[in-house]
Symmetry: C2
Subunit: 355 residues, 2 copies
């Protein structure tokens, strides 16, 4: 090893879900929305002022911040935007988790939390979910350097009732509590409603799932002006201009079209509830997901084998080779016809499965 | 102060240049390119596949990486891309500057270096430029935790000859040397040519100036596969999907149109050289800039006063209220007619200036 190599930061990076290429594949592996963005987004793309691309965008991303503030009924000083919710969450880790005490998050959860904690040298502990994969609020009532959990949780899809979320926040007046609501629009109730009462609560959401804009990289946080100011100070110390002009132009249009947003969500929830019945009939068990995916395990067929069989059929789902998760598949809710193709294959295979 | 506030990271954020709004203003304050992006960029915008925005972009940004690798004649494993060169540089600080020894950069330079060092708790020292604002290579020949400097330097515009850059790299076999070449295309010679010989050299460039795409936020680094791998590991530990689909689509088009790129650069260099003569005639002194701006001081008129007078005329330039800089204005090279308006005002004002 050369001397200069000793100073290189050692990390075990997050591995994103595969982006398979080619035609005729069914992609149910990265929780994308199966429907296109709102029609206004297309219009905004066509109408973008090409010449203005030579200029820096507004570093405060005001157009998008104001639009979100109005939509969610909070102040513009209560909204932070970033390059996807990963950027928002990473900034929050860097801004808020600077204690000697451990940050707490569930053992089974979004795998990036551990990666950020290790990147920034933040101590952490991971209370175990119960046997049914539920978060036990009381695990978060002890001294800590901050709390973060997704709601609904990933990759289980389980939603923690808002009264229980509030219990966790109420027991942590001395730390900052982050609720990561990437999947909240598919059926949960947002902790946004608690913001009036808790200055130390941060709620993070994304345009990547419910708003069909994973390709644009837009995430946001809502919290007290004090928290948002602190995040902006760190953002301006890292990269002042994060949101490019297309993100600002297209993001605002995605928020404005409420009717399209509701319609798309309803279709996905409808497909999800139908899928639950089909999975059950086929001998799968799964937590009762409130997200746009189902985390399912078969009574007889090992998940790893099913994963490979599906992949051979060009049906891509997500498999986590990790403790407690290795006999499950995380299956994104696709369009009706994509789910039909999935179930046609499963019905054909499951009854006569030979390992 | 509430208990949770104690864990908030304390930073003094970078203050980006003003983005004044309204019609009929002349904007020479943020070193943007006065000409629009290449025509192919407009075409790419119109042809973007709207439906694909629902999907995550390629986290490896391969289209853009491959395109840059081909253009610059390096391997695809020698190119890293990020959300503007600030993102690339911040990632480089986080990845490479993890020594107990101080990182070295000039006292007068891009003000973000100090901000990143403080954000990440990196020790640093700032050798002074000489009286003519030149970097003294020998100041960087001592033990350190890494070296970074812009070439041409900001806000002076002075270019350090490539043989001197090599001297600095050659004297630092045990550390990583970053050359920040945001302005290199306007007349300097890139340290890219040294990459074959120095595995510990990183060269950072941007699409924001010479490629007229400040609004898209695209920056990149070139270096040895070992350095690029280390940066990607950190990137994948922070935010896997940084480059959105429009950045990938439009960025590649900007690289492909070599003829437009050269033509635009020639126009700007021509305008800059003419501007130098005019400034001299008007009693200004300035380092001999190789960038797309001139850092000028008047023999009689205090820069702060001139800054205000110009602002009243809706001509925006950049003023730094900092040691050694406070009697200078940094003036971006605009279009010919913008520079004419600037000089018409200065010619009218300078001779009969009353404070």
């Amino acid at each position: 090893m050369k001397t200069w190599e000793r100073n290189i930061r050692k990390v075990v990076p997050y591995v994103p879900g595969e982006q398979p290429k080619g035609e005729k594949l069914i992609k149910l592996n990265t929780n994308e929305n199966p429907y296109p963005p709102a029609p206004g987004v297309r219009q905004a793309l066509l109408e973008m002022d090409f010449e203005s691309l030579r200029k820096y965008p507004d570093p405060a991303a005001r157009a998008l911040v104001d639009c979100l503030a109005e939509y969610y009924g909070v102040g513009a000083d209560q909204v932070f935007v970033g390059v996807g919710s990963d950027d928002v969450l990473a900034t929050a880790f860097l801004t808020f988790f600077n204690s000697e005490k451990p940050v707490l998050f569930p053992d089974v959860t979004y795998s990036f939390y551990k990666v950020w904690a290790e990147l920034f040298g933040i101590p952490y502990e991971t209370p175990a979910l119960d046997k049914a994969f539920l978060i036990r609020p009381e695990d978060y009532f002890r001294e800590n350097g901050g709390v973060i959990f997704p709601n609904p949780n990933a990759p289980t899809g389980l939603f923690l009732d808002l009264s229980q979320v509030e219990e966790i926040v109420r027991h942590n007046p001395d730390g900052i509590v982050i609720v990561d609501e990437a999947y909240i629009d598919f059926g949960g109730e947002s902790a946004r409603k608690l913001l009036d009462r808790y200055e130390n609560l941060l709620v993070v959401q994304t345009f990547s799932k419910s708003r069909s804009l994973a390709g644009m990289r837009i995430g946001f946080a809502m919290g007290s002006p004090r928290l948002i100011q602190a995040m902006n100070d760190v953002k301006y110390s890292y990269n002042s201009y994060t949101m490019n002009l297309p993100s600002l132009a297209l993001g605002t249009e995605a928020v404005k079209d409420e009717a399209y947003f509701r319609e798309t969500l309803e279709k996905i929830v409808h497909t999800r509830e139908k899928a639950k019945k089909r999975f059950q009939e086929l001998g799968f068990t799964f937590p009762d997901s409130m997200a746009n995916f189902i985390f399912a395990s078969h009574e007889r067929i090992p998940a790893a084998e099913l994963f490979s069989a599906l992949q051979r059929e060009r049906i891509f789902v997500r498999y986590f080779d990790a403790p407690r998760l290795s006999n499950y598949l995380r299956i994104t809710i696709g369009r009706e016809e994509e789910m039909e193709a999935l179930f046609a294959f499963l019905e054909d295979q499951v009854s006569g499965w030979k390992p």
